[in-house]
């Protein structure tokens, strides 16, 4: 197998590694895999953390290692790269669709908007009934990447994957 082919296969295997907190998303959907380098029998996977303190990153590193080990790669290096900083702009369209089907409202805009605005609320449509008549409950949710909303039409609470 030449190294181009190997890289292609590795990407296919990485597409099966999911985020432990949001299992519907793969790490490629999330946009956290920044590079794959193959040197002989050594593989280096460069990933970028979503949030500085995200505990899922350690688990993701282990899962990548396991996925490659099971395909015969014994020398796997996981490198963390902080810059450029991860943004939800890198999430794939397919990832956003899967999030919505899972019941989590996907990020809606580019993240470069006015960072110093106060009480600025995006209009987040309900992932269940698509109503735009929704309300922010809390800027913070069960994981760093999510906030909490409530739909005022179907009355269901839901999570929103924050624009970051």
């Amino acid at each position: 197998m030449n190294s181009d082919n190997t890289t292609k296969h590795i990407y296919e295997w990485l597409q099966q590694v999911t985020d432990p907190e949001v299992p519907v998303l793969t790490i490629l959907d999330l946009g956290i895999v920044r590079d794959v380098r193959v040197m002989g029998d050594e593989v280096t996977i460069v990933i970028t953390p979503t949030y500085s303190g995200c505990p899922a990153m350690d688990v993701i590193g282990i899962n990548i290692r396991m996925a490659l080990l099971s395909r015969g790669f014994k020398k796997v290096h996981i490198e963390q790269q902080l810059s450029p900083a991860w943004t939800t702009d890198w999430m794939t369209e397919d990832g956003k669709r899967k999030l919505k089907e899972y019941g989590i409202a996907p990020p809606v805009r580019k993240t470069s908007d006015n960072p110093l605005a106060l009480f600025e609320d995006d209009n987040i449509p309900c992932p269940r009934c698509n109503s735009e008549h929704t309300e922010l409950v809390s800027r913070f949710g069960p994981t760093s990447c999510k906030s909490l909303y409530k739909c005022l039409d179907c009355k269901e609470p839901f999570e929103h994957f924050k624009c970051h």
Partner: protein
């Protein structure tokens, strides 16, 4: 003897890391005690961001430490637990810097170690610090130290979120009930005396700035003041008039609170060295 360029860069990194760790630890004390579930979660998330930032910075500091000459290694810290490790010739990592330093080797500003007291004090402390941290990280993105610049770029996005949260709470409490207004004003007046230190240029700050590593913090004070004024006005709160400021944390002289924080935070590693779970 003045510190070498490398040693100064290390101490500068520790100063930023210690702010993140100590404030992160303080905020994490709310975990399970928040007034309502959503705000308990908000603070726990915020604490996690601070701890994550601290980890990247401590690892960077540890890497710089391990590259120093053995003579220089012996002069940087006086904490016994850390000295024991250094004298054995062992390399240090992020955990050693967090868990094996005593209070007199910590460089965080005094504001970050002040107690949570109540919701008003917690919000006021976060607001005053977040506004500083926002402009600080924005400027640090231009550091010649590429690791510091990368941590700054990443942290800025998180701090933006923290600042929005703490600014909104200042307004909610200040422009809220008579009770909330009185109490948040009291908290603001009390913690105001710890804000001056954030903008003090110590010898470490000056050398870092001269080396192109650090931030001109005196220059970001105007931006900080504008943001504070804007939010306080919106919150119908009064800008504290006192100008006398506490100082010392950045030069390792701390209030009595830091010792208690470390006693709790470092207990496991001190009682059971090198334990993992």
């Amino acid at each position: 003897m003045p510190n070498s360029k490398q040693m100064n860069q290390l101490l500068y990194t520790l100063q930023i890391a210690d702010n993140a760790l100590i404030l992160g630890h303080r905020i994490s004390e709310w975990c399970g005690h928040g007034p309502i579930l959503e705000q308990d979660i908000a603070l726990t998330n915020t604490a996690l961001d601070h701890l994550g930032q601290a980890r990247s910075l401590y690892q960077h500091a540890a890497d710089m430490f391990n590259a120093l000459s053995s003579d220089n290694k012996k002069t940087l810290f006086t904490s016994t637990a850390l000295q024991n490790k250094i004298n054995k010739g062992e390399a240090l990592d992020e955990d050693d810097l967090a868990y094996l330093r005593d209070g007199w080797d910590f460089r965080n500003v005094l504001l970050t170690e002040q107690p949570n007291k109540d919701w008003g004090y917690t919000v006021a402390r976060s607001f005053l610090y977040d506004a500083f941290s926002f402009y600080f990280y924005a400027a640090l993105q231009k550091s010649k130290d590429t690791v510091l610049a990368a941590v700054a770029e990443k942290s800025l996005k998180e701090v933006t979120y923290h600042l929005r949260w703490s600014s909104e709470w200042m307004i909610r409490l200040g422009d809220g009930t008579e009770e909330s207004k009185t109490r948040v004003q009291e908290a603001l007046d009390s913690y105001w005396a710890y804000t001056g230190e954030m903008f003090e240029m110590t010898a470490v700050d000056k050398a870092a700035l001269a080396d192109g590593i650090g931030v001109d913090i005196a220059a970001i004070k105007t931006l900080w003041q504008e943001r504070v004024n804007m939010v306080l006005e919106e919150a119908t709160l009064i800008l504290p008039a006192n100008t006398w400021m506490h100082s010392g944390g950045k030069e390792c002289r701390h209030s009595e609170h830091l010792g208690y924080i470390l006693a709790e935070m470092q207990f496991m590693q001190r009682a059971y060295p090198d334990m993992e779970w």
